[in-house]
């Protein structure tokens, strides 16, 4: 036998396939087809965890996605996953599960003392107690999180793979219960491309738990089997089992998570564990069914208290007896279904307690005819038994249902099956911003109007609870969706079935207990978050009247179940307390995901090397071979510095900087953005996008340009060269190339479509290397046929030529203040030319330098780097670069420079900064103050943007943005550091620290 509570026959489990598993280290046996919850119940295990706040013993209450209690840690580290619902985990051989919110064990849990202290743990307790003093929160948090943790993360990285799939369909059908199957059949028969999604591993939905149901005069499950076979045969229909549609986004875009291997004891290598489907549908039909609502009565969280529909599932689908002697507690007809099924399965039904004065409905009548003991107009007012229900006390209700009357009677039982009505599963409909309306008769919110086009709801999800109506609505919605996609309606009659729903009902939101509310017993509304009816009342007393505020204050409806069972009860209790009609209180916002989704699915294969594309220059391998360390610049990997044996970064950078100024350095500058600009109006265009004039630049000449956004702030800078009459090459900052191209295209296409200008990104078409230093001309002259004489190629000029036999563009431009040549060759020749230059340059001691040395060299000259000296709030005037701003023409951003704000004397301006002690190097980002106060806060004047040791100046140098800095030259400022040091420094007369006359460029 696979458990003492297994029924001798029936169910959809495979009796010849026994599976071993462990729970909390103890071995059990279950059957293939069991859920983990079913297998535990078959072994008589109800107690599966401790509650979040009070550590109360908790049992399995449902058989589906709404489960708030049976959240288990499944699997071994690192394949362990927390918070899995035992009701949804398929049993596999060797499965290991453990309770997670209990220490040392579920049977004896230290945290249960919280239960004794419950009077001191009201809602908002954490806010009220631990938020003061603010600095201590970090200490409290550690202990609170540990005490209230829901499971553990794996300690190592996830060894599994996850995939993503993009898909399109005509009609998405969510849910393969009777409505969903009918919808998929109707749409599929019409020829539509259909995706049918079912979270379970079996199709059929509620029919799986209702063996007596009949469709077209035959057993319902025969119809399900025939439907599945027909769908499999339709070429345009895809059925995804074990797949949750967890999110509905805009324009009928859906997120689905398919569980591919979790149910396999030995997953094959080639399969991903899960697969994320990103699905775009033309039409969507939500057939998500309904979730049974529990009733809110005293100590309704005791293990052994379950929903009536869960009891039916365990008996009928899994052939498990959830108890030996049961009390059914209901306010509608559907609870009697559990009573009838239990009676048939040999479970003693001690009583059916019905809040309705007159039990009515087809199931109630059958129970009466069977002679079951029915206590009408009554309620369960107390539950006894801490780790398992032992008995209940039942009393008659008054006319209002607010109080009990008479003498309570005691009924022994180990199971309470309760039904408080049904809530349509409207989550996806509401995520897509569909509107709900309150159905007074059925006592639930039902879909009203979809916000997005092409969305339909059918069956119980739509408030049509009878089987006949489910089939009818499903078929109509499926056919309608297919027709809206342009498919002719196939003529097939909807399947027929009886159409009873669960009416009549008596909707009582709060069942009175023996004591006043909040005294001794607890009426749980949200079991996962340990929120009681008393907590809701407290929140209202404290002034939270909006349901969104009540939710956040009490945490009702949060966490992994998102209030699937408790939310409507919470709204009902709040409405009653406020004396308002329930729908006037409103619902909280539904957000994705419907059920929790593992993080791995979002990462998919985009991890490690595939996380983000890496861009490497053609000379990358050379840098690697020669010991370069690299830094990331955008997606580029750039050589940072090239340490030699025994050198630290400081020594290496000093050597590179000195060698460049003393003889010859070479830099891989391939990453500079390059935009090819052609067309008769190219000069006019450049004149509009740069702050300086471009109309008179001659062919073969280069010019530095500054580009602003319309708000007047510096966006980018770089050198642009006129290659030909109508041909320019623009260079941009390495990290900014794409943004600059987009900026230029925007203006060309939208503001100045009359300009004939054509832009092409050529960044990756060319390898760029910069020779810099006094010997740059000597080396290059040996390698090229171009005339490099100062007369033929002066500073800021361009010539084509061959370098090392390769066609090249040679630009005489300088970012170091030295004689420099920037050489562009086709990217595929980059490595060859670089190596040729390195070999020929040996006699000059040619030294490769990285980005760090480049930064030092340019800072010695006071050259800015956009993004380092600027941050989107700096104008050319702030940079003291008024010389590059044209007074005579308009350009993007010009008008902003004369706004009143731009003339304020306290704008942050770029200045040079010299520490009083030349040996001290300021940290970049250091804040500057005029006067040091004993402790922060103190008025801040600005910050250090660049700071280096300059081997050429023999001291530290820095650039800074300082309020009114240009008027502060010679003033002493202070940089108070986090480590307590205060560094005095003087605002320099000029930010150009080296060769201020520019002699070396000649």
């Amino acid at each position: 036998m696979t458990g003492r509570m297994r029924l001798p026959q029936g169910g959809l489990v495979k009796r010849d396939e026994t599976l071993s598993f462990t729970f909390n280290g103890k071995s059990y046996k279950g059957l293939a087809g069991d859920s983990l919850a079913a297998a535990l119940l078959a072994n008589g295990v109800h107690l599966v965890g401790r509650s979040f706040k009070y550590h109360r013993p908790r049992g399995i209450v449902s058989a589906g996605a709404e489960e708030p209690n049976a959240l288990l840690q499944v699997g071994d580290d690192p394949r362990t996953e927390p918070n899995l619902k035992a009701t949804q985990v398929e049993l596999v051989a060797g499965l290991k599960a453990a309770a997670q919110n209990a220490w040392p064990s579920v049977d004896f849990d230290v945290g249960a003392v919280n239960s004794l202290a419950a009077r001191f743990l009201p809602s908002g307790f954490y806010y009220k107690t631990f938020m003061w003093p603010a600095s201590a929160w970090k200490t409290y948090e550690h202990f609170i999180r540990r005490a209230a943790g829901l499971g553990r993360s794996p300690s190592r990285r996830d060894p599994d793979r996850y995939d993503k799939t993009f898909a399109h369909c005509d009609v998405l059908v969510v849910g393969a219960g009777p409505a969903g199957l009918a919808a998929a059949l109707a749409a599929g028969r019409a020829g539509a491309r259909v995706v049918l999604v079912e979270q379970d591993h079996l199709l059929g939905g509620a029919l799986l738990s209702q063996p007596g149901a009949a469709i077209d005069g035959k057993p319902a499950l025969d119809w399900v089997a025939a439907a599945e076979a027909e769908l499999a045969a339709l070429p345009e229909v895809r059925v995804l089992k074990r797949t949750v549609c967890h999110a509905a986004f805009d324009h009928n875009f859906f997120g689905l998570v398919e569980s591919v291997t979790d149910h396999l004891p030995q997953p094959p290598e080639h399969l991903p564990r899960k697969r994320l489907w990103k699905l775009r549908a033309k039409q969507a039909v939500f057939c998500c069914g309904a979730i049974e609502r529990p009733m809110v009565f005293a100590d309704n969280d005791r293990p052994g208290v379950m929903t009536a529909s869960a009891v039916r599932s365990y008996i009928n689908r899994y052939a498990v007896r959830p108890g030996r002697r049961a009390v059914v507690f209901t306010n509608n007809d559907s609870g009697y279904g559990a009573a009838l099924d239990m009676e048939a399965a040999g479970i003693e039904v001690a009583a059916v307690v019905d809040t309705r004065p007159v039990p009515a409905g087809p199931l109630s009548e059958r129970a009466e005819a069977l002679g079951l003991r029915i206590l009408s107009d009554s309620a369960v007012i107390a539950v006894e038994g801490k780790k398992r229900v032992r008995r209940v006390r039942v009393a008659e209700l008054d006319a209002e249902g607010k109080n009990w009357v008479g003498a309570p009677q005691v009924i022994d039982c180990d199971l309470v099956a309760n039904s408080g009505g049904w809530n349509p599963t409207v989550h996806l409909f509401c995520q897509a911003k569909g509107r709900l309306r309150w159905d007074d008769v059925h006592g639930c919110f039902v879909p009203d109007k979809a916000m997005q086009w092409g969305q339909h709801v059918a069956g119980a999800a739509n408030g049509a609870f009878g089987l006949g109506a489910c089939l009818r609505e499903g078929a109509a919605a499926g056919a309608g969706a297919a027709a809206d996609c342009g498919f002719a309606e196939a003529s097939s009659a909807a399947p027929q079935a009886e159409n009873h729903d669960f009416l009549p009902g008596r909707w009582l939101w709060l069942i009175p207990g023996e004591q006043p509310l909040g005294r001794k017993a607890k009426h749980f509304v949200d079991q996962q978050n340990d929120v009681t009816a008393a907590d809701l009342r407290l929140a209202l007393r404290e002034g939270y009247s909006s349901i969104e505020h009540v939710k956040r204050y009490t945490t009702t409806g949060m966490a992994t179940d998102q209030g699937k069972m408790g939310n409507v009860n919470a709204i009902g209790i709040v409405a009653e307390a406020l004396d308002r009609h329930l729908p006037d209180v409103g619902v909280t916002t539904f957000r994705p995901p419907y059920t929790p989704v593992t993080f791995g699915i979002f990462a998919g294969r985009d991890v490690d090397d595939l996380l983000d594309p890496v861009r490497r220059t053609p000379m990358h391998a050379w840098h690697e071979r020669n010991g370069a360390l690299f830094e990331d610049v955008g997606q580029w990997r750039r050589a940072w510095y090239y340490p030699r044996e025994g050198e630290d970064m400081h020594a290496a950078v000093n050597r590179e900087v000195k060698a460049t100024r003393d003889s010859l350095g070479i830099l891989d500058a391939t990453t500079l953005g390059k935009i090819d600009i052609q067309g008769p109006d190219a000069a006019t265009f450049l004149d509009r996008v740069y702050t300086n004039g471009w109309l008179k630049l001659g062919v073969g000449r280069c010019r530095y340009g500054l580009m602003l956004k319309e708000d007047g702030m510096v966006m980018d800078d770089g050198v642009t060269t006129r290659l030909g009459e109508q041909h320019y090459l623009m260079t941009t900052t390495s990290g900014n190339a794409a943004a600059v191209l987009a900026h230029l295209e925007d203006y060309l296409q939208t503001e100045w479509p009359d300009l004939r200008v054509y832009l092409t990104s050529v960044t990756e078409q060319f390898a760029t290397m910069t020779l810099s230093g006094p010997n740059a001309r000597s080396l290059l002259a040996e390698m090229t046929d171009a005339d490099l004489s100062p007369g033929a190629l002066p500073h800021m000029a361009f010539t084509p030529g061959k370098v090392a036999g390769v066609p090249a563009r040679i630009f005489r431009i300088s970012f170091t203040g030295e004689l420099s040549y920037e050489i562009n060759v086709p990217a595929s020749f980059g490595m060859a030319v670089w190596q040729a230059l390195m070999t020929a340059g040996e006699r000059y001691g040619i030294t490769p330098y990285g980005t760090e040395a480049m930064h030092v060299l340019r800072a010695e000259k006071g050259f800015i780097i956009v993004g380092q000296e600027t941050d989107g709030s700096v104008t050319p005037l702030d940079l003291d670069m008024g010389w590059i701003v044209s007074k005579t023409k308009d350009f993007i951003g010009k008008r902003s420079l004369t706004r009143a704000d731009m003339a304020k004397p306290d704008r942050k301006q770029l200045v040079g900064l010299l520490t009083s002690d030349p040996q001290v190097v300021l940290p970049e980002g250091a804040q500057l103050v005029e006067k040091v106060l004993p402790q922060p806060p103190m008025p801040m004047l600005g910050h250090v943007t660049s700071s280096y040791w300059s081997p050429n100046c023999g001291r530290s140098i820095a650039l800074a943005l300082v309020k009114g800095g240009l008027a502060r030259k010679g003033e002493t400022l202070y940089a108070p550091l986090a480590d307590g040091r205060v560094i005095p420094c003087v605002v320099a007369e000029s930010p150009v620290f080296f060769d201020p006359e520019g002699e070396r460029l000649k």
């Binding site: 875009f253 319309e710 987009a742 939208t750 308009d890 010009k894 008008r895 902003s896 009143a900």
Partner: protein, 97 residues
Amino acid sequence: MLQISCPHCGPRAESEFSYGGEAHIERPKDPAALSDAEWAEFVFLRDNPKGLVLERWNHALGCRRWFNVARDSVSYEILAVYPMGSPPPALEPRRYV
């Protein structure tokens, strides 16, 4: 994720596009003639209506062309796609409370 019909490439996912803000804001012909307030209106101030919005989109990961879109900012329904420089098509106003 919206599905946007690029006039050149057809319906594509929003992730291929970049957003360009409110449409039909023309760069002033003579910025120097504007007061600070008028210039600020052009550079900084945008409408944020509930209902019909006219906005610019660029098929950045496709043909890189800019175009205009008329969209309902509540339902996100795209009501029209039309070229740069064209006036918006006649559309029913959308009313939401």
